[in-house]
Amino acid sequence: MNDLFTYTLRLGDDALIAAQRTAEWIAAAPQLEEDVALGNIGLDQLGQARSLLQYAAEVEGAGRTEDDLAYFRDERDFLNLQLCELPNGDFGHAMARLLYFATYQHLLYEQLLGSADEILAGVAGKAVKEVAYHVDHATQWVLRLGDGTDESHRRMQAGLDALWPYTGEMFASDPLVQRLDVAVDPAGLEQEWVRRVTRVIDESTCERPTSAYQHSGGRDGKHTEHLGYLLAELQHVARSHPGATW
């Protein structure tokens, strides 16, 4: 398979699956204002997914569209991080995931701005401002929940702990990113990511998780049991009515 196609698909799938999980919060967030905030964030992620999947389809040159990639691939063909597909859990989990993921995306897009691939650099240019706001949103909540009541502190810590073992996968290098000169090797982002995330967690009075065990496999299409259910919901209308339009 074409390296650029695979690389673009990885980034696009991260954004698409994250968008689906974020959208699940709409009408289920703790306050109406947060419904709208998470709706906005989900739409930012979906916009990034569309640009990336559109480009992946074009690079592949097999006549597929962004919709084909989103709705007509099976679980094993998705290359997203497992972090993105895990169920939402409570609001503490959601903010822990957004902090981890958006901080990673922000560092990644900052680097991708300098890519020799104009389309990837262009997508990154637009997305970097969006994810900067996502980082801020997550940060505000982690600080307030961590440094709030005993119960909010306990839940925030639980969220940070539960998702930490899924963060190592973000920084896994492999021959593909080393070969592909327009790609960003995520291994180089880890140190700064740890520094930024640690600063927020410290200020929130939570403890930075230290679990050494890290899950992996998402980039090779190996997923948790949860992705299948997510895709069923994401894809069932498109698959039940192929070719339907509004």
Partner: protein
């Protein structure tokens, strides 16, 4: 928990003053500003936002409407249109 109510004012790109656009709930001023960004500027409505805690606003009461506002009703001489401009004065 009911969070405090905040009134939101937005200055549009071409506007000179902040205009009241609505209200929202938030635990503190920082979050109120962010919520306002998310709820009221999704379609590029503004370039600047103010939030004010609703409880900090002192408002006139509907009960006082008569004595507050009615007396101005018959003071037509407070409008510039009441006065006739003398002939020969072109650029008053």
């Amino acid at each position: 928990m009911i969070e405090p109510l905040w009134e939101v004012f937005v200055r549009s790109r071409r506007g000179l003053s902040h205009t009241h656009v609505g209200s929202l709930h938030a635990p503190d001023a920082t979050m109120a500003l962010r919520n306002a960004r998310d709820v009221y500027t999704r379609r590029q409505e503004g370039v600047s936002i103010w939030v004010v805690r609703a409880s900090d606003i002192t408002a006139s009461s509907p009960d006082e409407k008569d004595e507050f506002f009615d007396p101005a009703g018959d003071k037509v001489y407070r409008h510039p249109t009441f006065y006739q401009v003398p002939e020969g004065v072109d650029h008053l």
